[in-house]
Amino acid sequence: MAVANIQVSETPLVLYVLRRADDALILGHRLSEWCGHAPMLEEDMALSNIALDLIGQARELYSYAAKVEGKDNDEDKLAYLRDVRQYRNLLLVEQPNGDFAQTLVRQLFYSGFADLYWRAMMGSGDATLAAIAAKSEKESAYHLRHASEWIIRLGDGTEESHRRAQAAIDQLWAFTGEMFAVDDGERHLIDAGVAIDPASLRGRWFAALSDVVGEATLELPQNDWMQQGGRSGRHSEHLGHLLSELQSMQRTFPGLTW
């Protein structure tokens, strides 16, 4: 009963919006996996809030991508009927939750970027993206605050938490470079004032991150080899499993209303 994947006409703008939508959905999905299993009830609440913010961002972005594409697609088709090679998210966000340190380091890396990114995107010449940015910026700012406070506590907590936090940083560092990469299609959007150049955020991202990591008595790796591929659908092995779960209902029961 396999269902065919939808086809998406990936014009530069559609692709650009899909990439951000996929980031938000996949990270939101990952965080939602914690619900019921967090280290304390207060964190079940916090991680669920972040997941809900991200799923909300994803829905707005998918709807906009579908509108720009102007075909028969909608938020659910875009989320549930594209396979792993059609997904455009960063490799970082699809990395498994691992332990609490890994989840929070992933969040720190991403939210540190998203906070700056959405703030800059509030000035986008695209009114819809600017509006989504205005909402997402406030959410991301809180996600960053939450993750930073935790990393400081894990880094400067016990020997074990320090070790785990450092291991998480070392594990995930190579996935951070992709956030700042730009391809030709995006370059056109940047030149047109629709998108912002993420490379311009890198210095501030690194400085803010260094402050948090320093306060946490942790270290950022010197290694600057960065993994790429998520933006063009070359993912880690983890994403396929996530999608098989995420999409199981739509794939098993094609074309129904839920």
């Binding site: 009830l41 207060e42 609440m45």
Partner: protein
């Protein structure tokens, strides 16, 4: 290993500008920063607040219910503190 107890906090929220902070509930957190974050995540999910206070529960000194008589009953007889104690003719209007 026995679970270490995480401190308990009382949460107060100002729901609208102009209103006082009101006690809404409690939570557990290791320190003030985490308590404030948790209060936001637990008690303002439906737009309930504009401002949050968190106070360690241990910092609250409460009156003893056994002393209720001594503490609060003496005020009950001071009816002259209330406007209804005084008679003003209706013609004078609202005062």
């Amino acid at each position: 290993m026995a679970t270490p107890n995480t401190p308990l906090w009382e949460v107060f929220i100002r729901s609208r500008n102009g209103l006082a902070h009101k006690h809404v509930g409690s939570l557990h957190a290791s320190d003030t920063t985490m308590a404030l974050q948790a209060a936001r995540d637990i008690y303002t999910r439906r737009g309930e607040g504009l401002s949050i206070w968190v106070v360690p529960s241990s910092a609250i000194t409460a009156s003893d219910p056994a002393e209720k008589g001594m503490m609060f009953e003496p005020a009950e007889s001071k009816i002259y503190r209330h406007p209804t104690f005084y008679e003003v003719p209706e013609e004078v209007g609202h005062m």
